[in-house]
């Protein structure tokens, strides 16, 4: 693969500042760096199958290199004072509408950062919990393929490629759900596979419909065409329906009600450190796709939407597909908060509580997105996306920490049933403190990251002046407090049970938990830069024209004589 020449922006940045004095085109190369690194890690760990320690070494080195690449993207493309804010890479040097485009903007970078942090934690954790036989099996290569799928989904600028990366991610996750190989796990994996095969077919239908309607699948080109249908001779009418199909597929990945039913069994069946990744990373792919397609791609389409639910007086009307997305997302998010919260209160195992909690928490992420979609006020729309992103970050850190904590408890005591646990706090205080911090972050206590997440979500609801949403959020928060307290009381307080008495807690596992807990505190205490990052991400998500220009510039340049011969 060769790299394209730099864009005009790249050249001017490099000319004016010594800070980004990198070789020409390195920003474009940075875009593809995380994917190449994680692919190399996957292949490398596959080849080193007979040398378990070599495989672990390659895996961890790959994880660290991935985090460094993502950090470089964050700094050089998004956060540095003179950063371009967006960068593209044309795979194989084919120009934009034909070739495959990879794009990094604030939104992708924010999502990648979450995955990088959680990925490293989960990877280090994995090296400690796997039995010797599994180190030689395909665990680590699959782990990297899962990360590859997630990374590709965040970076691609092409709708069909989004489908392909979804499949890469899913293929790895299928095997992880079946990983422990008991009858329950096989059954859970089968239903998970069946559901996702169906979802893939629906995704293909949506992609085909959008191609037939607009004549392109490049997201920037799509945004350009639907914003000005007359100039391209297309009829934007079917877009709302097609977007509804895609929305249902993404809602399955995000686990929004009524597409949540696979989550409890799948999360319980996967190893805890993978469940952390499923909740923290693949779930966010669904959220990312909803935000990207709704706001960056289809927000400017002029389509009359009018929906009436007969007999209820509920009516939705607007002149953009966002009116539909907002209404549908609001209903799904509200149901998620209630179903997830109520479900979590009655579970009998720690994984069960966390899996249902995950359904509820994704509702908290989707509510501000729904608010942003329904409002016409640009400030409120911005606030909504920022709130969703900050909450997503909090959920990734807190839920990742909690699932890893369950993994620690399970490898120490051999069980995660609440009835068999008790008095863990006295057995391992650092584990208890880390779990406590994660729980409080879910509830939203200052100064943890959860406080700002909750605060921004409530702020968005208050600005939207919707009492219904505020009451809903309040109920959801109370349910969170209820199940978090119950889990804590049952497992960490009370009389020590037999399994807890004989438990030996692994120091490295607890170390990972403590680092994640410190990250949660750090995000909350030093919230200013995190907010700026989320702010830049929201700006990028809503800046459809900037996205089109950044991707389109390559076409222009190529026509002018650059590119391939």
């Amino acid at each position: 693969m060769t790299t394209t020449l730099t864009t005009a922006t790249d050249l001017s940045t490099i000319a004016t500042t010594p800070l980004t004095a990198m070789p020409i085109g390195s920003e474009s190369q940075l875009v593809i760096a995380p994917m190449l690194i994680v692919l190399l890690a996957a292949v490398g760990s596959l080849l080193l199958g007979r040398r378990p320690w070599g495989r672990i070494g390659v895996s961890v080195a790959g994880g660290v290199a991935y985090a460094i690449a993502v950090a470089a993207i964050d700094w050089y493309i998004i956060l540095a004072p003179d950063a371009p804010g967006i960068a593209t890479y044309q795979v194989g040097d084919w120009p934009a509408p034909f070739g495959i485009t990879l794009v990094v903007d604030g939104l992708s970078a924010f999502m990648l950062t979450m995955v990088a942090i959680l990925g490293i934690a989960s990877l280090v954790f994995s090296t400690r919990v796997l039995p010797e036989i599994d180190r030689r099996s395909y665990y680590f290569p699959l782990f990297h393929f899962l990360a590859l799928g997630v990374t590709g989904a965040f970076l691609t600028g092409d709708l069909f490629n989004l489908f392909v990366w979804f499949e890469v991610m899913l293929m790895a996750s299928y095997i992880f759900v079946a990983y422990y190989g008991g009858p329950q796990h096989t059954r859970a994996a089968f239903w998970y596979v069946a559901l996702n095969l169906l979802a893939s077919a629906i995704f293909l239908l949506g992609v085909g419909g959008i191609y037939a309607t607009t004549g392109t699948l490049n997201m920037a080109e799509l945004a350009r065409r639907v914003a000005d249908p007359a100039a391209y001779g297309i009829d934007p009418g079917p877009i709302v329906g097609l977007l509804a199909m895609l929305l249902s597929v993404f809602a399955i990945k995000a686990g929004l009600v009524p597409f949540q039913f696979w989550i409890p069994t799948a999360y319980r069946s996967a190893p805890p450190q993978i469940a952390a990744l499923l909740a923290g990373a693949t779930k966010k792919v669904g959220i990312y796709a909803i935000i990207r397609l709704s706001f960056t791609v289809f927000a400017d389409a002029q389509v009359a939407v009018s929906l009436d639910v007969p007999g209820t007086g509920i009516a939705v009307a607007g002149d953009s597909p966002l009116a539909f997305v907002g209404a549908a997302l609001f209903v799904m998010a509200a149901a998620s908060i209630l179903v997830g919260g109520i479900g979590a209160v009655g579970r009998s195992s720690m994984e069960g509580v966390l899996a249902y909690s995950s359904i509820g928490q994704v509702g908290f992420i989707a509510i501000p997105v729904a608010i942003a979609a329904t409002t016409a006020n640009p400030t409120l729309r911005h606030v909504g996306i920022v709130a969703a992103l900050v909450y997503a970050l909090n959920h990734t850190l807190a839920k990742g920490l909690l699932f890893l904590a369950v993994g620690t408890v399970r490898s120490a005591t051999g069980t995660s049933r609440l009835a068999d646990l008790g008095g863990l706090a006295g057995r391992s205080p650092p584990l208890a403190i880390a779990f406590f911090v994660g729980s409080l972050a879910l509830v939203g206590i200052p100064p943890l990251s959860g406080f700002f997440g909750k605060f921004l979500v409530f702020d968005a609801a208050a600005r939207a002046e919707s009492t219904t949403v505020l009451v809903l959020l309040l109920v959801g928060s109370l349910l969170t407090i209820a199940y978090v307290t119950r889990t804590w009381n049952r497992s960490f307080w009370g009389v020590r049970t037999g399994p807890v008495e004989t438990a030996s807690v692994d120091a490295v596992q607890v170390g990972v938990l403590v680092v994640l807990a410190a990250a949660i505190v750090a995000v909350g205490a030093g919230f200013e830069p995190v907010y700026e990052f989320a702010d830049a991400a929201a700006t990028a998500a809503l800046d459809s024209e900037g996205y089109q220009e950044a991707v389109g510039e390559f076409v222009h340049e190529d026509e002018a004589g650059g590119g391939h011969e």
Binding site: W94, F98, F160, F163, V164, E167, M171, Y174, A178, G182, P183, T186, R187, A188, A189, F190, W191, V193, A194, L197, L198, S200, A201, I202, L204, L205, V207, G208, G209, Y211, A212, L217, T265, E565
Partner: protein
């Protein structure tokens, strides 16, 4: 005419696939999923048309002489090819899983698989 036949075939495939997914036998569920996947592929293929080629629509041929022939839309064919490969792999995996379910539960009847908890 072709369009109507295609539409009818795609509709029939989806109907058959949905019917099979609702069966109690796991293997039929997998067949249903495979058929729905193929129906989606046929649909995808039907979404492209045949158009006079220009340098814009056929970038591969553009550098090889003046004449660019009338072509079927190459993009949908590339998409379908990818989708077929992915669908094939996924179906194979689902079949292996259902065999495994049979080994562990001694049945392929969905209603006898027991509680999903």
């Amino acid at each position: 005419m072709t369009a109507i036949v295609l539409a009818a075939v795609i509709g029939a495939l989806f109907a058959l696939g949905t019917f099979l997914i609702l069966r109690r036998d796991l293997i039929r569920v997998v067949w249903g999923l495979a058929i729905i996947g193929q129906a989606a592929n046929v649909y995808l293929l039907a979404m492209g048309g045949i158009a006079p080629g220009t340098a814009d629509t056929v970038p591969v041929l553009a550098g090889h002489g003046e004449h660019v022939p009338e072509t079927a839309d190459p993009l949908v064919q590339a998409l379908v090819l990818t989708a077929i490969v992915i669908g094939f792999g996924m179906t194979a995996f689902a079949l292996v899983l259902s065999y495994r379910v049979y080994e562990e539960h001694d049945t392929l009847d969905v209603s006898e698989l027991g509680d999903r908890e």
